[in-house]
Symmetry: C2
Subunit: 363 residues, 2 copies
């Protein structure tokens, strides 16, 4: 019988590593009544996470069915191996953002891989530490599970129950496919963005005052934590290198074309790259304008308290749900633009009703 | 005496090219009572812009003091030269996003450069055409004017009055410095983003479903119009090439380090690039989290009509102004995160008051 009526997981869960991810897992499971045992190499971090309500300290005789290792990528394999050895019946998962490197390392040290299920929640923020933790960090996020033939289905199911209890969405991918996928949608973009941001450090005087939303978006993730990202990039280097080499070849071709734009075919090369970029963006699922599932309504909003509130209140009165929103606002401007993503079938009603209420619609 | 009491500009303004920028200039000036004469190579575009209220058709005997050329970059110099010849007293400006190439071309054809003042409004959108035009397109945006010694101050002042009438912010930069600046903050990021988006076209099955906000931001501008961008990049190719070559050198260094992460110094190289990226982002003025002038408050918002409205209404009641806002929302999730940028001194009050009203603060 399940001791935790509000949870799919039964029994205690041990979480090793009480940083952002570990403490968030602890908070989410605690909310569901699961007994969470926290451990961390740092006593101060552990105490802080316990104070935050993310779980309790370990006791003699704890017998967790599931252990979640949430330590930095470089430390993951060693901690997983130690936990497998210390708890000979437990299923052990980890949440590192690379999955082949820990598996290879665990194989090398002869760990009991029949009880190890690698996983990776696609959640997290630029800021780390238990102080940023929250119970809802994983809600609606994909969480990849890497099954292997030697692992009993019941153990994989246990990890899936963890994921469902945290309201994330389980996805199943072999470790190598996972690593190739995140190299493309996360690790290579990090490098691309970082190197563009680095160029800005050589900006001539005044140039950055001309920066608009484009360069801000391209370089936003370049603000990420270097210490963490060195580990991620190093652990997934072969997959990242493969993408960056193809990128570099395209960049070289663009450089050749741009270095002599009058040469036959040069403009066609540049146009071809730009069109391929259009196609790449169009292939991304989800929101933010690229998504053909939504229509865009752009509303002018005066830059004073309550104006956005009035807009959203009136949208609520009209009965229009906002699928996404982007606020654009130049320094010094007296108005901002709120770009609302709405279902296409409600767009004309939203425009008409907002206009009738005096809102200026800019697109 | 000024014929236009609500405007700084006196007399008629002729706008050549009735696309997004030209029609928006026409709308903005018409709103201020300025007589706007529109021209466009396409009769259909011209009629549409006139229907939109962006101005009137040309008459025999029109004598504009100021002419604004708002045609694609490739056509700019030829149209500016023709306008200088057709109106021998008028000051002519253009709004092309590159400034050296038209100047060089105008010099080559022997145009009367004493009446030409190049300019560039940093405004615009991914969508073009008069249908996207709006009177407020330029409000609060930087608008660069490129003065030259041979141009009388009164002509430069005329262009500045145009800019002020459109509520933009004039900035003065020589043409070459302008081109170097936009190569860095606009043209190079466009290529960087485009080539990353192109990589996504080679995504293995399922990989794009793991895409998060990071890759979306990095590739957003890759959705821009290829036809326009070929012209922009070609016209500013030397400045763009200089930045992209430095970028390529950094990328090569990163590739060497990532290809052998165990080699001495490899991790230090990667960490150094990541730290330089941090520094580059921190140097950008303005909003969006990177800006140290604002503090961030993250609020959970249920995905249903009226919830954002309630949030902003209550922020208005509390008296907290939102400097910027980013809505994060995973497909399928029941809640979104509204990341509010507020002045640092009001953050704790915003958090306390919102919490007291039952809002869940996530960071």
């Amino acid at each position: 019988m399940n001791q935790n009526p509000a949870a799919r997981l039964d029994g205690s869960v041990r979480v090793v590593g009480a940083g952002l991810l570990g403490a968030s897992i602890g908070l989410g499971l605690t909310e569901r009544g699961v007994d969470v045992i926290l451990a961390d190499a740092s006593r101060a971090t552990l105490d802080l996470a316990i104070d935050y309500g993310a779980g309790r300290a370990a006791h003699e005789g704890d017998d967790p069915a599931l252990i979640v290792v949430a330590v930095p990528p470089d430390a993951t394999a060693a901690v997983v191996a130690a936990e497998l050895a210390a708890y000979p019946n437990a299923t052990v998962t980890d949440v590192a953002s690379v999955k082949m490197a820990p598996l290879t390392e665990l194989t090398a040290v002869g760990a009991d891989l029949s009880r190890y299920v690698g996983s990776h929640p696609l959640a997290g923020r630029e800021r780390g530490g238990p102080i940023s933790a929250r119970a809802d960090l994983f809600i609606g996020r994909p969480w990849v599970v890497c099954p292997r033939a030697e692992v009993e289905p019941a153990r994989i199911n246990l990890v899936e129950r963890l994921i469902l209890d945290l309201q994330a969405t389980p996805a199943s991918l072999p470790a190598d496919e996972h690593d190739a996928a995140v190299a493309l949608v996360s690790h290579a973009p990090q490098v691309i963005s970082t190197l563009m941001a680095k160029r800005l450090t050589a900006a001539p005087p005044g140039a950055l005052s001309l920066a608009g939303q484009g360069v801000r978006d391209v370089t936003r993730i370049a603000a990420s934590d270097p210490e963490l990202w060195v580990q991620i990039l190093a652990a997934n280097a072969p997959a990242v290198v493969e993408i960056l080499r193809a990128y570099r070849d395209d960049l070289d071709a663009a450089l050749v074309a741009l270095s002599d734009v009058g040469a036959p075919g040069a403009r066609r090369t540049i146009a071809g790259e730009l069109a391929a970029g259009n196609a790449g963006v169009a292939g991304l699922p989800g929101k933010h304008g690229q998504d053909r599932r939504y229509a865009s309504v752009i509303v002018m909003v005066d830059d004073k308290p309550g104006e956005l509130g009035r807009l959203f209140t009136e949208l609520g009165e009209i009965g229009v749900n906002i699928e996404d929103l982007r606020l654009e606002h130049s320094p010094g401007a007296l108005v901002g633009l709120a770009e609302l993503a709405v279902l296409p079938e409600v767009k004309s009603r939203a425009v008409d009703d907002l206009s009738a209420r005096g809102w200026r619609i800019a697109g």
